[in-house]
């Protein structure tokens, strides 16, 4: 796997944007409004800042251990058994994430678009197409991302501009009316909307210039944060803080409420739906690729392609477990809190801090005495 094609910074940006924007953006306006009322968008902003900080920490790890992923330096830093356990956890986490993506996509498309297509077929076809992409390397996914990201950033916001006359920005008032305690509690929920950035732990060594990772991550997360904020502001200003809490997928319903003046398209939500399906496909594929990478690195295989299809079956069966949409979202909440927060936020920090304490890695900055290696590093 070390001989795979390297990705550029732009490709990393595209990968991260298409990875982070997925199933979360549908429910995001509702969840942040439930947490913080009209201040939901501030919550999104605060979450974005936290995630940018964490991703900078992760990118430091990548610089401290060049050409290594978390699978290798995790074992070095935390001792071998812990490292392996940790990597296995990561693998399970990514696999679960894939199945959630697939199942939520199936539920949404079944509700809004394909009434009579069986869930099994939707999930199955999605996974098969995803398999096709995951068998290739990260650079392929990156090129795919570069093609798609501009479309799904620009088109929805073009449509959204048609809704500006119907927006009532006073719905965002009162400003800062949420109690700080509630705001902090909401922060725990919002950061899970950004999950996916931790794949940098695996992708950084594949970059042609790993040093640029922090910058690229900041750009990508900045774009995602802005998109999230716009989605929240737009849907809150269209629906108001009460109505939005009743909508299962406010972001979609918002596009349902849009009528493009003078357009031949009566309903633009079909286009939005199509774009969203592609974003979920990308999210799924990248998590899938991450799972395959962890596995491949763990058992040290040269070629990961053969593990993809069996894994697709596992993801498929996991995706079929929840009985209905209520159970699905309950599982998803539990997953985000009990797996997402540890693997996204806590473990990378633990590794970083342990590595710094044990003064490991090529870039020992501890104490600031080792100027030589600092120079080498920069």
């Amino acid at each position: 796997m070390d001989n795979q094609e390297k990705i550029t910074s732009n490709q990393l940006i595209a990968i991260m944007i298409s990875l982070l924007i997925g199933i979360g953006i549908l429910t995001l306006p509702r969840t942040v409004t439930e947490e913080a009322g009209p201040d939901g968008w501030l919550l999104v902003l605060a979450g974005g800042i936290i995630v940018i900080i964490i991703s900078v920490v992760i990118s430091r790890l990548g610089i401290m251990f060049p050409n290594q992923t978390v699978v290798e330096y995790g074992s070095t830093v935390l001792s071998k058994p812990l490292g392996i356990l940790f990597s296995l956890g990561f693998f399970v986490y990514f696999v679960f994430f894939c199945s959630f993506e697939a199942r939520v996509l199936a539920e949404v498309t079944k509700q809004l678009l394909l009434d009579r297509t069986p869930t099994e077929v939707i999930v199955g076809t999605l996974l098969l197409i995803s398999t096709y992409l995951v068998r290739k390397d990260l650079a392929t996914i990156g090129r795919m991302g570069e093609m798609i990201v501009p479309v799904f950033i620009i088109v929805p916001f073009l449509f959204l501009s048609a809704a500006i006359p119907g927006m009532d920005l006073t719905n965002l008032l009162p400003f800062m009316g949420t109690s700080p305690v509630r705001f902090l509690a909401g922060l725990g929920t919002i950061v899970t909307s950004y999950l996916g950035f931790e794949t940098l732990l695996l992708f950084q060594p594949v970059m042609n210039r790993p040093r640029d990772a922090a910058k690229a991550m900041s750009v990508a997360l900045g774009v995602v944060t802005v998109s999230y904020i716009l989605a929240v502001i737009a849907s809150v200003s269209i629906f108001g803080v009460y109505e939005i809490q009743r909508l299962t997928w406010p972001t979609f319903t918002m596009f349902r409420a849009i009528k493009i003046p003078g357009a031949f398209l009566e309903n633009v939500h079909g286009v939005i739906m199509a774009i969203w399906v592609i974003t979920v496909y990308m999210t799924l594929s990248i998590f899938f690729f991450a799972a395959v990478t962890v596995m491949g690195r763990l058992v040290k295989v040269r070629e990961h392609a053969f593990t993809v299809l069996p894994l697709a079956f596992i993801i498929y069966f996991l995706a079929m477990v929840p009985d209905n949409i209520a159970v699905l979202y309950e599982y998803l909440d539990m997953f985000s809190i009990y797996l997402g927060v540890p693997f996204g936020f806590i473990f990378p920090l633990v590794i970083y801090i342990t590595a710094r304490i044990r003064r490991m890695g090529t870039e020992k900055k501890g104490g600031g005495k080792d100027e030589k290696s600092l120079e080498e590093g920069s």
């Binding site: 069986p118 009460y242 009566e266």
Partner: protein, 403 residues
């Protein structure tokens, strides 16, 4: 080259692909769809006379069950679809009718629609519904009305930006009459709402009305009056506590919209020294100020600014219209008239009905959170006690093309 086994496997896969990649469970041919343009929902009320009448009407449809007085029969659901065949009137033999209205009874909308599907040769599709009509009796039944609204909002095919009207009488009638201009009530109403900014009906879409009902339990719904062969959208139904409370007349509706900062394109007429002056509005702006004094009284100040032109006076025999003093007099007179109309409707809706259709509570919550904290729990009692003051400032900008 590949081994025979590999070859066989790839052929099998290719064959599987043919079945996987073609066809779609949800494919429906366009001519097998029944494009509903208007949906009317009424409360089912059993009467023997009507049953007989119904029998006569539906003689052509043998085997259609007559609605009986059963627990299941709660709603009358009617839909109308255009005759798509007429659009390309060549080839197949098609009916001459412009539209196909059908109606049935059932416990809820979706079950009624399923019943209709057994009678029609196409699948009912709600994606192009332009207007939803609800009858007076349904509006007055809180439970049924809430069920209906929930079903409408829950259905993903029905958009939120469509029109929603309350029909005086039976909503079903609107679908079955043959109007002069446009055969189908759906497209007809859509055009009425788009083009005629008379201010005499409340311009709100389904989504906004539902939101308002959820937030404050009340709303204004535009009223549709069905005549022999025409419709009229005028006035509105006041919803309070999730059901119809009263009808609001045309002029009252207009004044209610002025307070809401809408309907800035109507005409106001006022009598000045025995001569009627008509004033055509071109713009209307409104703001809201809330203040509370030390005794806890809440004062609501609504200044409205209107712009427009004089559209009619009297020919030559009285005064010159192009005169600053005269224009000032007109401004005062129109302002007084509008203030009066607004105050009247404000008193009626706020004090008498106790419905917060203008989002006064919302305004307080947004701009005066500290006041809202005190009043939100008993907002309904507080609302009539708010002292409202409406003032209308009129600016006559033009006088037409004669002096």
């Amino acid at each position: 080259m590949k081994s025979p086994l590999k070859k066989a496997v790839s052929y099998v896969l290719a064959a599987v692909l043919v079945f996987c990649a073609t066809g779609c469970w949800d494919r429906v041919e366009i001519n097998h769809r029944f494009f509903v343009l208007a949906l009317a929902v009424d409360k089912f009320e059993y009467s023997e006379a009507e049953e007989k009448k119904g029998e006569e009407e539906q003689q052509g449809q043998n085997g259609v069950q007559q609605p009986a007085d059963s627990r299941r029969n709660r709603l009358v659901v009617s839909v109308v679809a255009p005759n798509v065949g007429l659009l390309r009137s060549e080839g197949a033999i098609i009916s001459e009718e412009m539209k196909f209205p059908v109606s049935t009874v059932g416990p809820n909308i979706h079950e009624a629609i399923t019943q209709l599907n057994t009678r029609l040769n196409g699948r009912i599709f709600f994606g192009h519904v332009k207007v939803i009509l609800v009858g007076e009796n349904l509006l007055s039944d809180r439970r049924l009305f809430m069920e209906t609204i929930d079903e409408l909002e829950r259905d993903h095919e029905i958009g939120r930006n469509i029109d929603f009207v309350a029909v005086k009488g039976d909503a079903k009638d609107a679908l079955f009459i043959k109007p002069i201009e446009e055969p189908i009530v759906g497209t007809y109403l859509e055009l009425v709402f788009q083009q005629r900014k008379t201010g005499r009906f409340h311009e709100r879409k389904l989504g906004e009305i539902i939101t308002s009902i959820h937030e404050i339990g009340g709303a204004l719904i535009p009223r549709l009056i069905v005549g022999e062969s025409e419709f009229k959208v005028a006035g509105s139904s006041v919803i309070k506590h999730h059901k119809h409370l009263a009808w609001l007349g045309e002029l009252e509706t207009r004044a209610a919209q002025w307070i809401d900062g809408m309907a800035g394109e109507g005409t106001v007429s006022v009598e000045m020294q025995d001569i009627w002056v008509s004033f055509e509005m071109t713009g209307l702006k409104r703001s809201m100020e809330v203040a509370r004094d030390d005794d806890g009284n809440i004062y609501l100040d609504i200044p409205i600014t209107v712009e427009g032109e004089i559209a009619g006076y009297i020919y030559q025999i009285h005064r010159d219209v192009m005169d600053e003093k005269f224009i000032e007099e007109v401004e005062t007179a129109i302002g007084r008239e509008m203030t009066m109309q607004c105050t009247e409707v404000m008193n009626k809706i706020k004090d008498e009905f106790g419905v917060d259709i203008w989002g006064i509570g919302d305004h307080i919550r947004k701009f005066h959170p500290e006041i809202w904290l005190d009043v939100k729990d008993n907002w309904e009692e507080v609302l009539p006690d708010i002292r409202a003051n409406i003032s209308v400032l009129v600016n006559v900008r033009r006088i037409g093309i004669i002096k």
